[in-house]
C-alpha cells in the first residue's frame, strides 16, 4: 500500500516535471524584453543610413574640415587639439568602430542576407552601394583595414587598401547590376532616393569615379580615363544629389547643427584658407557657409600661424546650412561635373573641362573661365565640397589648394589613426606608422609640400 503510494507520488512528480521543459525557454527569460530581439530589413536599412550620415557628418568630417582648413579649431579644447594634429588612438575608437559595429558592416551584411532571402535584387543592390560607401570611408581614411573577414571572424585580417578599392569597384558593378535587375526595394524607407533606381545607379557610378581618382596617384593616368567614363554615367542633375536626410527631432537633426548647439561646437569656426579663397572669388556661397563676425566681415582661423585673417573668425553658422533639417550634400552633381572637368583636363580636353567647370560656376553666378587650369578646377571643387570628407582625398592627390601645415608641423596628416580598441584586441591589427601624423596610405605615397 505505502509502496504503491510512493510510486504514484513519484510518477506524478515525473509527469509534473516533464511539463516544465519549456520553463527554461520562456521568451522573456531568454530574450531581452528591454530591446528588440528581431529586426526587419527596413529597420536595419534605416539604421544603416543613420550610420552613413554619422560617418559623413560626424567627427571625421569635422576633423577633416579643420585639416583641409575649410574650418578652424579654436578655444584649446579637443577641436583645437585635433585640428593641430594632437591625436591619440583613443580619439578614434568610435569613428573606426562605426565602419563595422551597430549600423555598420554587421547590419549591412545582415540586411543584404535578408534581401537575398526574399530575392529582392534591387533592395540588395541599394544596400551594396551603402556597403561601398561605408568601406570607402574606411579605406580612404585608414588605408589597410579589415574587410573580407570583417564581421565573420573574431580576429579579422587587415586587407591592403588597394585591394579594398578593387573589391569595392567590383561591389559597385554588382550593385548596379542588382538594382537594374529590379525588385520591391526599400520604397519610403529609403531616406535618400525613396527607392529610385536611376538615382542609385548614378550615385554608384560617381562613387566608382571617386575610387578611380583615389587610385590615380598609385596607379597612374589610366585611372583618370576610367573615372571620366564613370562620371559620364554619374549623377546627372542636382535633383539626383545624394544628401543626408534630417528631421527636427533631437537625434535626427543635421550633425553640424547638433554640434553647434553644444558648448564644444563654438570651438569650430571658419578656416582662413577657404574664407580667403571665397572672398577673392567673391563667391556667393560665403553667407551660406559662414556667419559674419562682430565686425561685419568674414574672418577665418589660420592653424598655420595660430592667427586669424580678416578679423575674428566667422562661425560656421551660415544661413544656408545651419538648420536642423539641412540635407547635407554627400555625393553631388557638382562633384560629378568637377570630376569630369578634372579628368577631361588631364586627357587634354580643355574645352570639355571648361564646359563642365563653367556649368558649376554658372550655378553660383560666377563668370565662365574659357581655358581653365587644374588649379581653377580643384579650387572650385574645394569650395563646392565644403564640409565634405572627399575634399581631403582631392588635396592629398592634387595638393590644390596648397596648404601650410599647423604651426610647428611639417605636413598635413595623410590618414586617421586606428581606433585603440582594434589595436589592443585584434592580434592581426597593423600598427599605425611610427608617428601618428606623418604616416601615409598606399594610395597616397607622397605628402604635399608645405605652401
Amino acid at each position: 500500500m505505502r509502496y504503491t503510494r510512493s510510486l504514484i507520488a513519484g510518477a506524478a512528480v515525473i509527469t509534473g516535471l516533464s511539463g516544465c521543459g519549456k520553463f527554461l525557454d520562456a521568451t522573456k527569460a531568454v530574450a531581452d524584453p528591454n530591446a528588440p530581439t528581431v529586426a526587419s530589413i527596413n529597420q536595419l536599412f534605416i539604421g544603416i543610413q543613420a550610420n552613413i550620415f554619422g560617418q559623413q557628418e560626424g567627427p571625421a568630417a569635422m576633423l577633416i574640415c579643420t585639416w583641409v582648413q575649410q574650418c578652424g579649431g579654436t578655444a584649446g579644447r579637443f577641436v583645437e587639439q585635433q585640428g593641430a594634429y594632437i591625436l591619440t588612438n583613443d580619439d578614434f575608437d568610435t569613428t573606426f568602430g562605426s565602419i563595422y559595429t551597430a549600423g555598420g558592416l554587421l547590419s549591412i551584411k545582415d540586411a543584404e542576407a535578408r534581401a537575398d532571402a526574399v530575392g529582392d535584387k534591387k533592395y540588395k543592390g541599394i544596400i551594396e552601394v551603402l556597403e561601398a560607401m561605408d568601406m570607402l570611408f574606411a579605406a580612404d581614411n585608414w588605408g589597410a583595414v579589415p574587410y573580407r573577414e570583417a564581421t565573420t571572424s573574431t580576429q579579422p585580417a587587415f586587407d591592403p587598401q588597394l585591394q579594398i578599392y578593387d573589391d569595392l569597384l567590383k561591389l559597385l558593378d554588382q550593385a548596379i547590376a542588382d538594382i537594374g535587375a529590379g525588385g520591391t526595394g526599400p520604397g519610403d524607407f529609403d531616406l535618400i532616393y525613396q527607392g529610385n533606381s536611376t538615382k542609385w545607379i548614378q550615385a554608384a557610378h560617381t562613387l566608382k569615379a571617386r575610387i578611380y581618382l583615389h587610385l590615380a596617384e598609385a596607379r597612374g593616368a589610366s585611372q583618370y580615363t576610367s573615372a571620366r567614363t564613370e562620371a559620364g554615367l554619374g549623377i546627372s542633375t542636382p535633383a539626383n544629389d545624394f544628401k543626408a536626410a534630417h528631421s527636427a527631432a533631437t537625434s535626427e537633426r543635421n550633425m553640424w547643427y547638433q554640434f553647434q548647439q553644444t558648448s564644444f561646437g563654438q570651438d569650430l569656426v571658419a578656416g582662413a584658407k577657404l574664407v580667403t579663397i571665397m572672398q577673392a572669388q567673391n563667391d556667393p556661397r560665403l553667407p551660406e557657409y559662414f556667419k559674419k563676425n562682430a565686425a561685419g566681415t568674414f574672418g577665418g582661423y589660420d592653424v598655420a600661424t595660430k592667427g586669424t585673417v580678416n578679423g575674428d573668425p566667422s562661425t560656421i553658422l551660415g544661413a544656408g546650412r545651419n538648420t536642423a533639417t539641412f540635407a547635407q550634400p554627400i555625393i553631388t552633381n557638382d562633384e560629378n561635373l568637377l570630376i569630369i572637368a578634372e579628368t577631361a583636363f588631364r586627357a587634354g580636353d580643355i574645352a570639355g573641362a571648361a564646359t563642365a567647370l563653367n556649368t558649376v560656376r554658372a550655378r553660383y553666378g560666377k563668370a565662365a573661365i574659357a581655358a581653365p587650369t587644374l588649379t581653377d578646377i580643384m579650387t572650385e571643387k574645394y569650395i563646392a565640397l565644403f564640409q565634405n570628407i572627399e575634399s581631403w582625398n582631392d588635396i592629398k592627390r592634387t595638393c590644390i589648394p596648397a596648404l601650410k601645415p599647423a604651426l610647428g608641423r611639417t605636413v598635413v596628416p595623410g590618414r586617421i589613426p586606428y581606433g585603440e580598441t582594434e589595436l589592443q584586441t585584434n592580434t592581426n591589427a597593423l600598427t599605425d606608422p611610427p608617428t601618428l601624423i606623418t604616416g601615409r596610405n598606399a594610395n597616397d605615397p607622397t605628402a604635399c609640400p608645405s605652401a
Partner: protein, 1105 residues
C-alpha cells in the same frame, strides 16, 4: 501558464492518505537537571515524523494513528536548544505510553539539528563546516530595525557596513571577501526554505542622465550610486522579532547545495513557529533615542572670501569668490554658527510587536503584528522610516503521515529620505561648506520668500529659478521630498509527507512579491541639474516564485553504520521590472507630480526575468558514530547561462570526525576535525546571452549631447547593439576548501573553533573589449580569476555557570586576504560603485585604491620631477621619504611636495583583521551584556576632508597663514617645514627639504592637495580601523509571583541598551564605517559627504503571558 501548471502538479503528487483507528498516545514530562520543568522541548519520533512540544509545565503528549501502529520499535527524542538531546527506543503499541526525559545542559550544542539548506539538515557533530548561528536573543539585543545590520559583529568574517544613519538606509553584507568583480556580491537570503530578495535600488538610478551615467540604461544598478538617497536593502521588510534563528553558510564549501546562486554564501532564516500548549502572548515594546554619532570638525574663525578679502555681496553663483571660506578673520563679537550641529536633532524609534502563539497536537500557529516608527536625526519633517508587519505561521497534521503548513507575511514600509553624497542638492555638501558667519536659518528669505543660500544670499524675484550653487542644507531638509513606499508579501505553503518510517517528502511553494514606489521632488529653487524643479518617480515590481520538492531517506543499518539521502528538485522564477519618469521644471511649486512639469525625459521601462531549474542530491554516511561523510551534487540550469552552457554542476564533499569518540586527550571533553570542499556559482546578469537590437543607442556623435539614433526622419530604425551575445557564458565559479576543528575543554567551560579556508574563483565575468571589426566592440566573457583565503577563530568561555549567576564570553577573530589573478588582458579594472580610484589589479587585493600621490623616494620614478634625478637626491634617505621641491622644477611652490603624475596604489581598504568580543554576566534575573566590534587596518579615501580643506571650512584650516595671493610669498604666519616632527612628519629629501613655509590658502586651496577635485589623493587616504562599543545592555526579568498574580503575566522583562555608544578610531571623518555608494559599493572605503551614523539608547519592555 504552462509553468504555473507544472508548479501545481508537484502538489498533486502529495495527495493525502486516510487514517484508521487503534491509536497510540505518548505523554510525559521533561525536566532539566535539578528538576525544573523545561518548556519548548521538542519530543518526537524521527521515523514517524510525529511529535509535539512541551508546555510551560514541561509536559507533552502526542498521538499516533492506529494505521501506523504495528508494534515496531521507534525512537522518541527530546531536543531543546542549549540541552543535550536524549533518545529512547520504544516498541510502538496501541494505548497510552508514558515517557519522561531529563536533559542536561549542552554548551557545545551537540546533537542539535542544523539546517543546511535546500531541505537538508544535519546535527552539529556531523557538520563538516564551521557553524555560525545567530539566535533570536542576539538579534533582539541588537535593536536594529534592519535585520542585516543586526548581524554585525555576530560571526567571524561576516562584514556588515551601514551606509548611513538615515532611517531605513541600507547595510551591505559580505562574507569571506569578494568572490566576483562585477557580479552580485550579496549572499542568498532564504527564509524558511524559500529564497527571498534583498535588492537595494536607489531612486537616483531612475535618472542616470543627471548622475553622469550613460543614457538609455534606465533601471540598472549603476547610475546614481554616489548621490541620491540611501535606499533600503529589502531584508528591512522583515521584523526581527519574527526570527527564531539565522544560520550563516559561509562560502562555497558550506553553500554548494544552493549551486549557482551561492558563491557569496547563504543566509538561512528560520521564523518562529507556534508550539502545542496554552496560547502565549508576547508584547515587546521599545523606544530608542538616536543621536548623531560624531560631529564634523569645522573652523569658526574665518569668513567667506578669497585671498583674505571678503566676498560680499554674494548675489550671483557665478561669482567664484563667494564659494570658499578664505576671507578675513571674523571680528570678535560677530556671531558664528554651529553648522556641524544645526541640521541634527534627536531621532527616535518606537517599535511594538505583539505575538500570539500556541496550538494543540495537530495544529499550531504563530501570529504576530508589529509597528515601527523611526524618526531620523535630521531636522525637518522629511526623514523617517515606518514599518508595519504581520505574519502568520501555521501547521496542521492532516493525517498521521501528512502535515501541511503555511507561512505568510506582509510588510508595509514608508520612508522619506535625505539626499546625500556628491550632490549639490544633498545635505552635507552644502552644510559643511557653509561659511561660519553665515546663518543657514531661515532658509527662506524673509523678504522674497525664496530659497537663500550662502552663494545667493538675498534672492529676489529676478533670481528665482536660478541655481543656488549648493542648496541651503536646511532648505534641502524641509523642502525636498524623497519618498519610498513599499508593500511586500512573502511566504510559502509546505507539505511534509512521511511515506514510510524512513522516507519522507517535503514540498514548498514560496512567493515573494514587492511593489516599491518612489517619488523624489526637488523644488523649483533646487540647484544645478535640478534648477527649476525636478520630479523623479518610478515603481519597482519584484517577485519571485520558488517551487521545491525534496525527499529524504534516513536509515540506520547498525550501530556502526547509518545513511541519510536527500534528493530534490527546484524551480525558481524571478521577475523584476521598473517603470520611471523624470519631469523637469515645475509649473507651480506643488504638487510634486510628473503632471506638474514643463518637460519630461523619455519614460523608462526596464525588466528582467530569470528562470532556474535545479536537481540535487546529498548523501551522508555515519560510521561508528564518529566519522561522518557528506557528498552532494547540484545541477543548475538557468536562462542566464549561455545557450551552449545552459546547465552547470556543483559538487561538494565534507568529512567530520569526532576524534574524542576514539581517543580523548586529557582535558578535552569533545573534539572534532572537519574538512570540506565545495563549488558554488554566481549567475551572469540577465540577457548577456541575448541577441538584441537597439533603437536608442547613438552613432556619429562628436561630443556629449550629439548623435543619431537608428530611427531617422520619423522612420523606426534599429541596429545591432555593441555587445556581442555571449552564447557560451557560464556562471562564475568559486571552489573552496575549508578545514578546521572544534574542541571543548576545561570541563564544558570553554570551547574553541578554528577554521582555515581558501577559495579560488574562476570564470569571473568581464565585459571585455573585442575588435570592432568583428562587428561588436565588447563581449561578456568568463575571463577573470581571483582568490580569497583566511582564518577564523571563535573562543567561547563560560567561567561561571552556576544556576544563580553566570558569566560567559566569546571572542571572534578573522582574516581574509584576497588577490586578483587574471583579468583578460587588462592590468586593472575600476571597481563598480567605487567613488574614488578603487581598482581590481592583478596581483593585488581586490579594491585597492589607485590614484595620485606625492613624489616619494624609492616609490616614484627617478625622473618624476623635471630636471631632478630622484636617485641622487634620495641617496641615504629611507624609502618613502617625501620629496620637497625648491620651486625650480615646474612642480609647484618652494618647500612643498610634488605631484607624482604616475598613478600608483595608495592603500588597501580591506581590513587586516576583524574581530569582536561579546560578554554577558547574569546574577539571578539581572543580565549585563556587551559587544565590542573591531576592524583593524584598511583605509578610507576621505574626500570630504579634501573638499573642506579646499573650501577652508575644515577645522584643520583654522590655523592658517594669511594669504593675499596664490603663492607662498603672498602668505604670512603659520610657518611649517615638511617632514620630521612638524608638518606631515617623516623623512624628507630634495632641494626644498627643511624650508619653512607659511601654510594657508596657498597649501589647502591652491596647491594640489584637495583630493576630491583635481588634487592628489594621497593626503586623503586615512586609516579606517576602529573599535566600536556596538552594544551594551542591562536587563532584568520579573517572574515573581506578583507578576503572575497581580498582572496576569508570566514574566516582564526590562532592558536598557546602548548601540554604537562609542567609537575609537584615528579616522577624522564622521565615521570610518562608511561608503559613498552604499550597498552598490563592492569594496567600500570612500567618503564624500556621506550621511552620519547614529548612536542610540534603547529601552525595551517585554510582557509575556
Amino acid at each position: 501558464m504552462r509553468s504555473r501548471l507544472c508548479l501545481l502538479s508537484f502538489l498533486f503528487a502529495l495527495a493525502p492518505a486516510v487514517a484508521s483507528a487503534q491509536e497510540a498516545t505518548f505523554s510525559g514530562k521533561v525536566t532539566a537537571e535539578g528538576g525544573n520543568a523545561l518548556a519548548n522541548v521538542s519530543v518526537f519520533s524521527p521515523e514517524l515524523g510525529v511529535g509535539s512540544f512541551t508546555r510551560d509545565d514541561g509536559t507533552y503528549s502526542f498521538t499516533i494513528p492506529g494505521a501506523r501502529v504495528s508494534g515496531q520499535m521507534i525512537t522518541v527524542s527530546a531536543r531543546r536548544v542549549g540541552y543535550r538531546a536524549q533518545s529512547v527506543r520504544i516498541a510502538l503499541k496501541a494505548g497510552a505510553t508514558t515517557q519522561n526525559f531529563q536533559l542536561s545542559a549542552n554548551p557545545l550544542q551537540l546533537g542539535e539539528v542544523v539546517v543546511t539548506g535546500a531541505g537538508t539538515s544535519t546535527t552539529v557533530e556531523r557538520l563538516g563546516n564551521v557553524r555560525n548561528v545567530v539566535a533570536t536573543d542576539l538579534i533582539q539585543k541588537a535593536n536594529e530595525p534592519n535585520l542585516v545590520q543586526a548581524l554585525a559583529g555576530k560571526a567571524p568574517n561576516v562584514q556588515i557596513s551601514q551606509s548611513s544613519g538615515d532611517p531605513g538606509s541600507n547595510s551591505r553584507i559580505q562574507i569571506r571577501g569578494l568572490r566576483t568583480l562585477n557580479g552580485n556580491t550579496e549572499p542568498l537570503f532564504v527564509v524558511d526554505g524559500v529564497p527571498v530578495s534583498n535588492y537595494t535600488f536607489s531612486t537616483t538610478n531612475f535618472n542616470p542622465v543627471d548622475a553622469g551615467a550613460t543614457a538609455g540604461v534606465g533601471g540598472q544598478d549603476n547610475g546614481g550610486a554616489f548621490e541620491g538617497t540611501s535606499a533600503p536593502n529589502r531584508m528591512i521588510d522583515m521584523n526581527s522579532d519574527d526570527i527564531e534563528n539565522v544560520e550563516i553558510l559561509k562560502g562555497a564549501a558550506a553553500a554548494a547545495i544552493y549551486g549557482a546562486r551561492a558563491a557569496n554564501g547563504v543566509i538561512l532564516i528560520t521564523t518562529k513557529k507556534g508550539r502545542a500548549g496554552s496560547t502565549k502572548y508576547q508584547l515587546r515594546s521599545s523606544y530608542s533615542n538616536d543621536q548623531i554619532s560624531r560631529k564634523y570638525p569645522l573652523q569658526r574663525s574665518f569668513s567667506l572670501g578669497n585671498n583674505n578679502l571678503s566676498a560680499l555681496p554674494c548675489e550671483d553663483i557665478g561669482k567664484s569668490t563667494c564659494t570658499r571660506s578664505w576671507g578675513p578673520k571674523i571680528p570678535a563679537g560677530t556671531p558664528t554658527f554651529d553648522h556641524a550641529s544645526e541640521a541634527f536633532d534627536d531621532g527616535s524609534v518606537f517599535d511594538n510587536t505583539l505575538s500570539i502563539s500556541g496550538g494543540n497536537e495537530r495544529t499550531t500557529f504563530f501570529l504576530s503584528g508589529s509597528a515601527m516608527k523611526n524618526q531620523g536625526i535630521f531636522v525637518g519633517p522629511h526623514n523617517f522610516f515606518n514599518r508595519s508587519t504581520v505574519r502568520l505561521n501555521a501547521t496542521h497534521q492532516l493525517t498521521s503521515a501528512l502535515q501541511v503548513g503555511g507561512n505568510i507575511s506582509y510588510a508595509d514600509t514608508r520612508g522619506d529620505f535625505t539626499q546625500r553624497g556628491n550632490n549639490v542638492n544633498g545635505l552635507l555638501l552644502g552644510l559643511l561648506r557653509s561659511p561660519p558667519e553665515w546663518d543657514n536659518f531661515p532658509y527662506l528669505d524673509p523678504n522674497s520668500g525664496l530659497h537663500r543660500s550662502y552663494r545667493l544670499q538675498n534672492p529676489t524675484a529676478a533670481s528665482a529659478g536660478q541655481s543656488r550653487g549648493f542648496n541651503n542644507p536646511i532648505f534641502s531638509l524641509y523642502e525636498e521630498l524623497n519618498n519610498q513606499q513599499a508593500a511586500r508579501t512573502f511566504g510559502n505553503v509546505t507539505a511534509e509527507y512521511h511515506v514510510l518510517p524512513w522516507l519522507k517528502f517535503n514540498y514548498a511553494l514560496g512567493a515573494d512579491y514587492t511593489s516599491d514606489e518612489r517619488l523624489e521632488g526637488c523644488p523649483q529653487e533646487c540647484s544645478d541639474v535640478a534648477a527649476g524643479g525636478r520630479i523623479t518617480e518610478g515603481n519597482i515590481v519584484n517577485y519571485q516564485i520558488d517551487n521545491s520538492l525534496s525527499g529524504t531517506a534516513n536509515r540506520t543499518f547498525s550501530d556502526n553504520f547509518g545513511a541519510n539521502l536527500t534528493a530534490g528538485l527546484n524551480m525558481n522564477s524571478r521577475n523584476y521590472r521598473t517603470f520611471s519618469d523624470i519631469g523637469r521644471g515645475l509649473i507651480v511649486p506643488q504638487p510634486f507630480s510628473i503632471l506638474n512639469t514643463l518637460t519630461r525625459d523619455p519614460p523608462s521601462d526596464y525588466q528582467t526575468q530569470v528562470h532556474n531549474t535545479a536537481g540535487y542530491g546529498q548523501l551522508q554516511l555515519d560510521f561508528f558514530s564518529q566519522l561522518f561523510l557528506t557528498g552532494a551534487l547540484r545541477r543548475d540550469c538557468s536562462t542566464t547561462f549561455g545557450k551552449s552552457n545552459r546547465c552547470a554542476v556543483f559538487p561538494k564533499g565534507a568529512a567530520a570526525w569526532t576524534f574524542t569518540n576514539a581517543y580523548r586527550p586529557p582535558g578535552i571533553t569533545f573534539g572534532k576535525l572537519r574538512a570540506s570542499y565545495g563549488e558554488a556559482g554566481n549567475e551572469p546578469q540577465p540577457y548577456l546571452t541575448s541577441v538584441t537590437f537597439s533603437g536608442t543607442n547613438l552613432v556619429g556623435g562628436i561630443s556629449q549631447g550629439t548623435g543619431f539614433t537608428p530611427t531617422q526622419s520619423g522612420r523606426g530604425g534599429l541596429f545591432f547593439t555593441f555587445t556581442k551575445p555571449a552564447e557560451t557564458l557560464k556562471p562564475e565559479r568559486t571552489k573552496e576548501f575549508e578545514g578546521g576543528f572544534d574542541v571543548g575543554f576545561l570541563g564544558d567551560k570553554a570551547d574553541l573553533s578554528a577554521t582555515w579556508y581558501a577559495s579560488r574563483t574562476s570564470d569571473v565575468i568581464l565585459v571585455t573589449p573585442i575588435p570592432p571589426s568583428s562587428g561588436y566592440s565588447s563581449e561578456a566573457k568568463n575571463a577573470g580569476k581571483l582568490r580569497n583565503s583566511g582564518t577564523e577563530l571563535q573562543l567561547n568561555l563560560r567561567p561561571i555557570t552556576n544556576t544563580g549567576y553566570s558569566w560567559d564570553m566569546s571572542f571572534q577573530w578573522a582574516t581574509n586576504k584576497s588577490r586578483v589573478d587574471t583579468l583578460e588582458g587588462a592590468q586593472f579594472l575600476f571597481t563598480p560603485g567605487g567613488f574614488t580610484g578603487n581598482v581590481f589589479m592583478i596581483g593585488r587585493p581586490l579594491g585597492v585604491i589607485r590614484g595620485e600621490g606625492w613624489v616619494r623616494c624609492g616609490i616614484s620614478a627617478n625622473d618624476a620631477v623635471e630636471g631632478i634625478d630622484l636617485s641622487t637626491v634620495c641617496a641615504g634617505k629611507p624609502k618613502g621619504a617625501l620629496y620637497i621641491d625648491d620651486g625650480n622644477h615646474n612642480c609647484g611652490e618652494p618647500g612643498m611636495p610634488c605631484e607624482d603624475t604616475e598613478n600608483r596604489i595608495l592603500g588597501d581598504p580591506n581590513p587586516k583583521w576583524t574581530g569582536n568580543f561579546h560578554s554577558s554576566f547574569r546574577i539571578g534575573k539581572l543580565e549585563l551584556s556587551g559587544l565590542v566590534d573591531v576592524k583593524h587596518g584598511g583605509v578610507n579615501w576621505n574626500g570630504t576632508k579634501g573638499a573642506l580643506w579646499s573650501y577652508g571650512t575644515h577645522k584643520d584650516t583654522e590655523n592658517r597663514a594669511i594669504c593675499t595671493g596664490a603663492t607662498n610669498a603672498k602668505c604670512s604666519g603659520n610657518e611649517h617645514a615638511f617632514g620630521d616632527a612638524d608638518w606631515y612628519p617623516g623623512a624628507v629629501a630634495g632641494p626644498g627639504a627643511g624650508l619653512k613655509i607659511p601654510i594657508g590658502q596657498n597649501w589647502y586651496r591652491n596647491s594640489t592637495v584637495a583630493c576630491p577635485f583635481t588634487g592628489i589623493d594621497e593626503p586623503c587616504i586615512e586609516d579606517a580601523g576602529y573599535v566600536k562599543l556596538r552594544e551594551l545592555s542591562i536587563a532584568y526579568s520579573f517572574t515573581q509571583d506578583f507578576v503572575q498574580r497581580s498582572l496576569g503575566m508570566s514574566s516582564i522583562d526590562f532592558r536598557v541598551s546602548g548601540r554604537n555608544l562609542k567609537t575609537w578610531t584615528n579616522y577624522t571623518g564622521l565615521d570610518p564605517e562608511t561608503t559613498t555608494a552604499g550597498a552598490y559599493d563592492k569594496v567600500g572605503g570612500s567618503d564624500y559627504f556621506n550621511l552620519p551614523l547614529t548612536r542610540s539608547v534603547v529601552f525595551t519592555v517585554t510582557l509575556n503571558r
